[in-house]
Amino acid sequence: MSAPPVSVRWALRVYALLSRGLPRNFRTAYGREMALDLEAILQARWIARGALAVWTGALGACLDLGRRMARERVYRSAGRRRRGARGNGGRRRRDGEAGDAWRDAADDGLFQLGWEEKMRRELREFGLAARALLRKPGFAGVAMLTLGLGIGSVVTIFTLVNAILLQPLPYPEADGIVEIQHHAPGLDLPNLNNSAGTLTMYREAADFFSAVAAVNNTRRVLTGLDRPEEVELLAVSHEFFDVFLTQPAMGRPFGPSDQVPGATPVAILLWEEWQGRYGGDPDILGKTLQLDGVTTEIVGVMPRDFELVQPGPIALAAFPDPENLFGTFGTNGIARLAPGVSLEQAQTQLTALQARIPERFPDITAETLEGFGWSASVSTLQEQLVEDVATTLWLLLGTVGFVLLIACANVANLFLVRAEDRQKEIAVRAAMGAGRGQVAASFVRESLVLGVSGGVLGVLVALVGVELLLAFGPEDVPRLQEAGLTPGVLSFAALLSIGTGVLLGLLPMTRYSARSFTGILRDGGRGSTAGRGRNRARSALVMSQLALALVLLVGSGLMFRSFAQLRKVELGFVPADVLTVGVRVGESMSLQEAARFYQDLRERVAGLPGVEAVGVGTQVPLGSGNSNGGSFYMESRPRGDEDLPPVAMYRAASPGYFASLGIPVLEGRDMQPADLDGSFARVWVDEYFAETFLDGNALGERITWHGGDEEVDQSEWPWAVVTGVVGDVKQFGLREDPAGNAYFPLLAGDLGYPDLQLGFLTVKVRPGQDEAALTPAIRDEVSRLNGQVPVIRVRTMDDVVAAAMGGESITLVLLGIAAGMALFLGSIGLFGVISYVVSQRTREIGVRIALGAEQGEVSGMVLKQGLAVAGAGVVLGLAAAFGLTRVMGSILYEVSTTDPLTFAVAPILLLGVSALATWLPARRASRVDPVKSLREE
């Protein structure tokens, strides 16, 4: 037999999962044959009637399974009761030892029903409801599919929300872990981390923290392997273990003595690293690692269940104990709140503590702090980690919530139609004495069956959806990989399906008020007078559907506009045909050696076939790498006492860097090999720098970041001469505001302050040539020059730019899908309602035509009715969109949340689709044959 189709395989999987609810001995005895049978049944259905039949079959089998489970439970407890009864003197019930377990005799209701019996009856009712639905496969299929898609999309996004935002971080008492941040808006630095000085101050003076740790991500080159490799480490101070309340599983934690200058470098391995690279070597303690050529002793292994939220690090390295200075806010500060201290209390006391900075750091005065706009804040580590994605995620959850609402409205409409079909049946039931409650129960049972099967389908949709998101989602979203269908998510899905089911079932009942309920009987279920009210209810549903769809259309329209704006952003460089290759020389080389190495490598790579230009820089625009920055001095413009110092970033580059990246040299000249001889300090600045700080006359100016030493005459400060002005480049992100940037040659005179441990080749190849194909040749050149230097992070510039757009495009795609679904479902709803209205009015239309109405008049009348509903939806939707799109403010780029273009186009689109959805039934109406329509009555 050929392999079963996907739908059969999935159905069998679901069935196998559900059948775990059966008692074990039943499963052992019959489980295998049950699975074999179901496979044969579904296979046959698939061949005969296709995938839908597989799912209705699977649904039938699952319902059957559910009944059996309930029965087995009754069976077992009946068995217990029997045993108990015999022990009790053998009192026996009417139907003897066999008990009521597998007999329906008790159903005659002659004696009081126990809960088990009630349950059985209820389950049988559900079985009947399911069977009734299966008799209407079209209705059931469409409703189930619609709900499945709606519930599935909500569950998919909820899975992410749950994993990223709701689940506590995987540490003991994780809500007590906070991150400390500083803010200096006066310096254009809205978010700053911590300096060694502030952390020390908090350790000593902040009793509202029980521990304060310094934590930094670093990368080092691990050598002594087949090939050198770049690895990520987390450099942590010894308080780390108190903040995270975790001790190494083996060995010892870091202590204060590990951080003093001259101490032996030590590291603690993460469990996976120990298991992976070292095969769980029991004698690992005391062995050494070569990190950037520094021998580092392994003193511990973290426990298996300790995980770091951001992937990458393999080990913890002891954090050096730096000088106690206020400056350089490059360190993450993570603290644990003291017992009994709330986040708000900690915030208040931390703010109060800032006033003591001047007395502790003499170079900082209260006035300086005020000029900086200085403040400090604490937030939970969790909030901090997910800050960037939280808005997007909640927005997406809201969006798919809307889609589910729209889907529900569609199914509700189907239900209303079905309720009309069932008028007669209901009338009969009412005649037989069924109350409102019982009729409602019968509706709810049906809708619950639909809701739950929609939920099962939804979970399958979510399984696929989450996989897709994990595969195509942006890489840098923290905790994304933790996303999965956990019991929590499944319970959410169950609640959602049941809630949806109950709501849908109660909806038709709103039409049968206590009084009209008896009325049904009187007019024998013809319900002609209720017609208008009924249509009004359905029109209202469709109207709200269209309004919701419009909100989503506007939302995704705004996102699209924002995306388009980002696409239009001037990158300042040309990414096409450029490959970037990272090379880490680490600390093993001196600055001069490193500059020499990069220069040699550049020349060798330039000789490879197809290479047009090659440069080396310490940073790739929008990519990785290092740049430094801070306040700088300009010789021609001495600082006044009151001025806030100008701030700019700098990095190192080689000749060819600008050319390979297509960055234009606007003034002065390009960098040349002679600039690297180290004898004369030169610097290149960008246009923004030249315009903002030097009034457009930058050439020849002397600037430095390392001035300010008042004991040295200003002319002796390590100045560099501005030799060229280049175009502005987006360095860190597409959304960044222009800021001053400078480029030093690899060896900037004898200053050499750019850090050269990590360099990136930027290789421009001839158009049409595959830039990535050069990688092996470049690797060979690197290892020929130095076998200890690893080649890392090889990417094309196109990929770098795409990654920078990554978060944007995935949000756009998801919103777009949601809006498309909403528009589709909404227009289906409109189509359904108008078609129904037309079919109801066939007779009236027939009369009109008989009396001489033109075809155009008739179709115009129907069209008008459809567009009136759509128009009302548009008005409502626009109002809602004005209010709701405000939450998108922070994720939009250069698009107002009330962008007129979007607010104009979205309604037009919606009205257009609505017109189409109305036109089809309108045309049918105009072709009504008056004679036929009257005769049919």
Partner: protein, 118 residues
């Protein structure tokens, strides 16, 4: 061997449709579970479908009441080793006859009534 919780035959009717159909299917030949399902579906023109859990649950109940029994290993036909075959017991046959009689009486009664007179 008589099971302590065996219900007297007279107390069992009216039989549930599933029981009746399974007993009926096994009255001519020994069958495995899936074959029973197919036989019942054929006999009823697709009107009665025995889904797996109900089918095997009923078979278990019937076996406990010693109305059907599983074939021992060396009695099993060789065609499909993964399947367990069942046969009707003498007690099962008696019950089937009893139930058929009861149904016959019902049909006769209905025929005799004026409402259904042809």
């Amino acid at each position: 061997m008589s099971h302590p919780s065996l219900t007297p035959l007279e107390a069992l009717p009216p039989l549930k449709p599933a029981w009746f159909h399974i007993l009926l299917a096994l009255s001519d030949e020994t069958l495995h579970g899936f074959a029973i399902r197919e036989a019942v579906e054929r006999r009823t023109g697709g009107g009665v479908k025995l889904w797996p859990a109900n089918l095997y649950g009923s078979i278990r109940d019937l076996a406990e009441q010693e109305l059907v029994e599983a074939l021992s290993e060396d009695e099993q036909p060789d065609d499909d080793q993964r399947r367990q075959y069942y046969r009707l017991t003498q007690r099962g046959r008696e019950l089937l006859l009893m139930e058929a009689d009861r149904l016959q009486q019902l049909v006769d009664a209905a025929r005799a009534s004026r409402a259904l007179a042809r």
